[in-house]
Structures are given as C-alpha cells and as structure tokens.
C-alpha cells in the first residue's frame, strides 16, 4: 500500500468542495431567461451565409496527486521535488472558419493551448489543427486537400485501423486532434439490394522533411484506400495503407445494430514487418521485426432507463508484454538510484528519449478492457449525465477508474467535473504512472 502525502491538502479539498458545489447547484440554475409560452422561428435564424466563424474556449484546472515511488515520477522529476501535488491551470482557445462558394469550400481550425503549473511554470502554443480546401462537383464526388483528420475505425476508445491519424486519447476520445497533410477523394454510390451504399476513399499522404515529418523516416508519397459498404444493414470498411515510409497495413471494421438498443462493432488491423523497439532485462535496447495483428470488439447498449454501456476489448499487436514493460520500469528505477548515488543522469536521459517513443503512447501494452457507464438525465435533471469509466490493463491487472459529472444545460456551455483513481502494483502500467489521483474541472464555451 503506497502512502500519499498531501502537502497542499487545503487547496485540493477546497477545489473539490467548490467543484461538487458548482455541479450540485447547476441544475437549480435556470439556463435561460424564463418567458411566456410564445415560440418564434425567425427566418434570419436559418439564413445560410457563405462564411462561418466559430470557436471554443475552455479553462481546465487540474490537481495531480503524485506517486513519488512510481517510475514515471522518478523519470520526470528526478531533479526537482514538486511535492505531493501539482496544480495545473490549462486554457484552450479554438477558432474555426470556412468560406463556401459554388462547389468549393475552404476550412481552417486553429488551437491555442496554454498551460501553467506550479512545477514547470507557463507555456503555450498555437497549432493549425486542420486547414483544407474542398471541391464538390456532385453529390457523389468530393475532393479534399490540406491538413485534416480521417478518423477511420468504429471503436470508441481505440481505433487500430486508423493508420493515418494521430492516436487518440482513450480517456478523452472525442477530443479534437491535429491532422496530417493529405489529399483525399470520396466517391459514393447507392443501390437497391443487399449493398445499399458503396463509398471509396483513396488517399495520398506525402512525407518529407517539411510535411508529416513525424510519420516515418524517408521521403515518400504514401497511399491508402478505404472501401465502405452498407451491406445487409452492417457498416463494413476494408482498408489498405502503404507506400514507403511505413510498412503495408491492412484493416477491416464493422458496426451493426442487433436491436434498437444494442450495437456491436469491431476492428481488425494487420501491420506487416512492424519494427518493435524493446528493452531486455539488462537494459539493452534492441528491436525485432514481425507481422502484427491488432483487434477490437465492442458493444454499446441502452437500457429502458437510459443507461448507456460501452464495453470494448482491445488487443494491441504492437504492444509490450508485462515482462517487456517491467524491463523498462526497472531501467528507470536503476537510473534513478544511479542518479541519487553518483549524480549522473545519463541513464535517465536515455530513458526519457525512449519515453517519447512507443513506451509513452496511449495504451502501450497488449490487452485492455474499457467500460463506460453513463446515465442520461437521472432524477429528471435535464442535460445532466453522470458516468464512470473503467480502464483495465489485462496483462498486469492495473487499472484506472474515472467518475465524471457532465452538465450541458446552459446553452453553448459544457461543464465537466472529473476524477481519476489510478491503481496498480509496482512494475505495472498504472502503478508506475506519476499520478495516484487526478481531479479536474472543465468549463467549455462554444461560440
């Protein structure tokens, strides 16, 4: 049992109390001005303009309760002593705009993020998340070029077939991400019969020193293609990606409603000649190349009392086994001991570089289970959704439990209170994370 010392306990408790109070009082606050029962529908509300400008602003204070014995704590804070808690203040400002004329349209989305923490001070950056031009000569054809996301796959928490996007965070799967530069074509056909829809999406994906430079090492023009079918009421995708900077990848996914309240989905992804970097027991870094197979199977169920369950099993064919992760954690622990006894951080700097790669990606191990239970509008409180998410690493039985309260009753505003309880023994994925607990409030406003 690990001990957690909370030096900033008054701050933590105050924040939690404030958050609980805010969420508890929200349903009591009328979201809009009360009025007579007169309903108007002004024509100006539906008039379409050629341009659009909108955005999203968010503040998100976070308290991290740290685990000083964890490998990732030692790796990150070996030079400093941040204490038992770190408070972060995060801000996000996103702008999106578009202009449409005839069959053409241009779209851009930027994201400015600023973060201040008691440990590392403040830092911020602005990134163009998406920026592309669209040409739509007919309802069957669409051509796009620029920076964009593809979002392939049917899984909620993971998408092993999403070969050409950044990996999403399974704890925040709906968060918008930075795209890659590419050119795509969509061609759609509809039919009567077992195949109701056919859509084909070829993709050109360039990689060089200036474009998409974090995807592979050489300069190449990669290609990918997705074939979508609505076949006997089942969504079916067949995917291929390859072309030079990465080895060939094949994928398929499906989704189907088995009844009005029960959906099943899955993904299968094969990567040929995948090169996996791994550390052996004595800390030597090596790599091996092999074909991998990843898969996901999930269900979504809705009860008569509006409880939604999302359950997914994910096998990551490119992931690390429990032994391989233990070697990595042992390397960090021995590096930390070496730093304490000799003052040399050579081993820890080496481990930090490794951590920036495959060891630090979301869900780095082989088998995971994801469960999310969300109850819509309990006790007749409109727009209020409490939920709990459980993520279990099946290889080492470590896990995280994330309860959440979400309120969307104020027009264009989203308020979320979330806590994360991160549990696991030594040498396990969640047990070696730098946090034991995490508490955050997110207030977002759309405009």
């Amino acid at each position: 049992m690990r001990k957690v010392q909370c030096r900033n306990v008054p701050t933590l408790q105050s924040l939690i109390r404030l958050a609980v109070l805010v969420i508890a009082l929200l349903p009591c606050c009328p979201p809009t001005v009360r009025g007579e029962e007169t309903y108007t529908f002004d024509q100006a509300e539906i008039e379409k303009k050629p341009w659009h400008l909108g955005g999203y602003a968010e503040i998100r204070p976070v308290i991290n309760v740290l685990d000083k014995d964890a490998a990732l704590y030692q790796l990150q804070y070996y030079k400093d002593d941040p204490g038992s808690t770190i408070t972060e203040y995060n801000g996000r400002f996103q702008l999106d705009g578009s202009y449409e004329k005839g069959m053409g349209r241009v779209y851009i989305k930027t994201s400015t993020d600023y973060s201040y923490s008691s440990e590392s001070g403040g830092n911020g950056q602005t990134v163009i998340y998406e920026g592309y031009a669209t040409l739509k000569p007919s309802d069957s054809w669409k051509l796009e070029a620029g920076k964009k996301n593809l979002k392939w796959g049917k899984g909620y928490a993971w998408n092993p077939v999403n070969f050409l996007d950044r990996i999403k965070d399974p704890y925040d799967p709906e968060l918008s991400l930075e795209g890659y530069v590419m050119a795509t074509v969509d061609y759609i056909r509809s039919f009567e019969g077992p195949v109701r829809t056919l859509a084909i999406t070829p993709v050109l994906f360039p990689v060089n020193d200036h474009i998409n430079d974090d995807v592979g090492e050489d300069s190449h023009l990669n290609v990918a293609v997705k074939l979508y079918l609505l076949f006997y009421d089942t969504d079916l995708d067949l995917i291929y990606a390859g072309g030079g900077t990465r080895t060939p990848r094949y994928g398929m996914d499906f989704s189907r409603n088995l009844s009005t309240n029960f959906e099943v989905h899955g993904e299968l992804a094969s990567i040929q000649r995948f090169r996996k970097q791994e550390m052996d027991t004595d800390g030597t870094l090596g790599s091996e190349t092999h074909d991998t197979l990843s898969g996901l199977l999930g269900v979504r169920h809705l009860t008569t009392f509006d409880l939604t369950t999302i359950l997914e099993y994910y096998h990551n064919g490119t992931g690390y086994s429990a032994n391989e992760m233990t070697n990595y954690f042992n390397f960090i622990h021995s590096g930390y001991q070496s730093y304490q006894s000799t003052g040399s951080d050579r081993q820890l700097v080496f481990a930090q570089n490794l951590t920036k790669g495959s060891y630090s990606r979301p869900s780095p191990m082989e088998d995971y289970l994801y469960l999310k239970l969300s109850q819509k509008e309990p006790l007749d409180i409109l727009y209020f959704t409490p939920s709990v998410t459980v993520m279990i690493n099946l290889n080492d039985q470590s896990h995280s439990i994330t309860p959440e309260l979400l309120y969307t009753g104020i027009t264009n505003m989203e308020l979320r209170l979330r806590a994360a309880f991160i549990r696991g023994a030594r040498d396990t994925e969640y047990g070696e994370k730098q946090n034991d607990y995490r508490f955050e409030i997110r207030a977002g406003y759309f405009f």
Partner: protein
C-alpha cells in the same frame, strides 16, 4: 300494389341507411393513414425545424435543424444552432441510425430510443418516417369530428409499439397522438397545433408539442418552417455524405 310500394319503401330506407353508414364502415384505415402522411409532408422534401425543450421552471433550450427526406426510409437532419451543436448531423436509412459529431469526426450508430437533444423528443421523433411505413392500422373509430386510428408497429425495431392517432375528419391531419408501449403504458403524447400554409400545396400543423408522464412538468416543442418539395440523390443519404449535408442548404 300496396305491398309493392311497401317493399320499395323498405328497400329505399335500407339503401339510405347503408349510404349514411358507409363513411364509417367503408373507411380504409390504411388509406387514411397514407393520406395523413402525405398531408403532413411531401414524400421528398427539405425543411427547417426548431426544437425547444421546456423545463418545469420555464427555462428553455433551443436547437435548430435542417432536415431532408427521400422516399419511405431515407431521412437526414443537420443541427445549425446552437453553436455547441452546429455541424452535428443524424441519418436514418430504414432501421439504421447514425450520429455524426464534427469533433469525433466519424458517424457512430445510435438507437431510435436515444435522444441526441435531450428532453422528451427522441431520435425517432426527430428522424420520423411516414407512419404508414412503420405501423399497420389495427382499428378505426369514429370520434365525433375526428377519427381515432389504432396503430400497431410492424416490427419490434419501431420506437413505439402502439399509437393512438386522432385525425381531423375534414383536413385529414392528426390532432393528437398517444405513444404507448406493448403493455399499453403511455410514453408520451404529441399535440399538433397551428395549421399553416407553407406554399406548394402544403398546409399542415406548424407546431408540434410533446409531453410525457415519464417527464412530469417537462415538454418539448417543434416548430416547422420552409417545408418544400425537393428531390435528392440517394448518395446524399449515406455515412460518407454526413459531414457535407450543409452544402445542400
């Protein structure tokens, strides 16, 4: 001769009774239901709707949608307001339903009983097909100025197992619909109000109000605008097209 006259009188009276009774006995519920469907909407159309959820304390939340429908089983809707919902779209192809959220970036399957807007209206109410497509008429009653149609869902995938629909005899338009479960439990009541001429021969209720014993004190209102006939290609009603529905406005 007297007997002949009596026989003729009896025959005439019987014929008169049959003629007077014929509107009820000869009424074909299925034909009436199809008339109701056509009077509510053209078979293929576009329209705008505003949904207002009203809470017991009078506070409201509004959503504005652009909707399009083709044939008996293809319908799509795009949220254009408020800003938090802008760009979301829903698609229904028969019993298949999907929701597209711009941030999520891909369509996910949803069910007819869920509600993408919260409140009393669910997805089946927002993406409603013709009643005759989903229901059989199990009975017709004469209820004064109205007919009362008893409707039974054709399959278990329909959101409500039974409907009781009151139809204005003259206008052949619904005035009220009770939505019930298989066990006859009332889920919600839909009221059709404020008849309006939308042009192009479309005269129908412009306001639909819903309340539910399951949500005591809450109600949802749907206001219609700019309903007009329009034909679309089938390709518009596909997952791949969902992010582009706004291009049809």
């Amino acid at each position: 001769m007297k007997g002949e006259t009596m026989k003729m009188k009896c025959m005439s009276s019987l014929l008169l009774i049959l003629i007077l009774a014929s509107p009820i006995f000869a009424l074909d519920g299925t034909v009436l239901l199809k008339q109701v469907d056509r009077n509510l909407n053209p078979e293929s159309y576009e329209m705008y709707r505003k949904l207002i959820n009203v809470e017991p304390d009078g506070s409201k939340k509004e959503f504005t949608l652009f909707s399009l429908k083709k044939g008996s089983d293809k319908i799509a809707a795009l949220f254009i307001a408020p800003a938090s919902e802008n760009g979301r779209s829903t698609l229904r192809l028969g019993d298949n339903m999907w929701l597209y959220i711009p941030n999520v970036g891909k369509p996910v399957r949803i069910t007819s009983l869920q509600s993408v807007v919260g409140g009393v209206f669910n997805n089946a109410d927002i993406l409603n097909l013709d009643y005759a497509v989903e229901y059989n008429v199990s009975g017709v009653e004469d209820a004064g100025n109205e007919y009362l149609l008893h409707l039974k869902a054709k399959t278990r995938s329909v959101a409500y197992d039974q409907l009781r629909m009151w139809v204005d005899k003259d206008k052949k338009l619904p005035t009220k619909i009770d939505c019930l479960t298989e066990a006859n439990m009332l889920i919600k009541t839909i009221y059709f109000k404020e008849h309006k001429d939308f042009g192009g021969g479309i005269v129908r209720p412009a306001v639909i109000e819903t309340d539910s014993p399951l949500y005591k004190g809450y109600k949802s209102i749907m206001i219609y605008a700019k309903i007009k006939k329009r034909s679309f290609k089938d390709e518009v009603f596909t997952l791949t097209f969902m992010p582009n529905i706004d291009s049809l406005r």
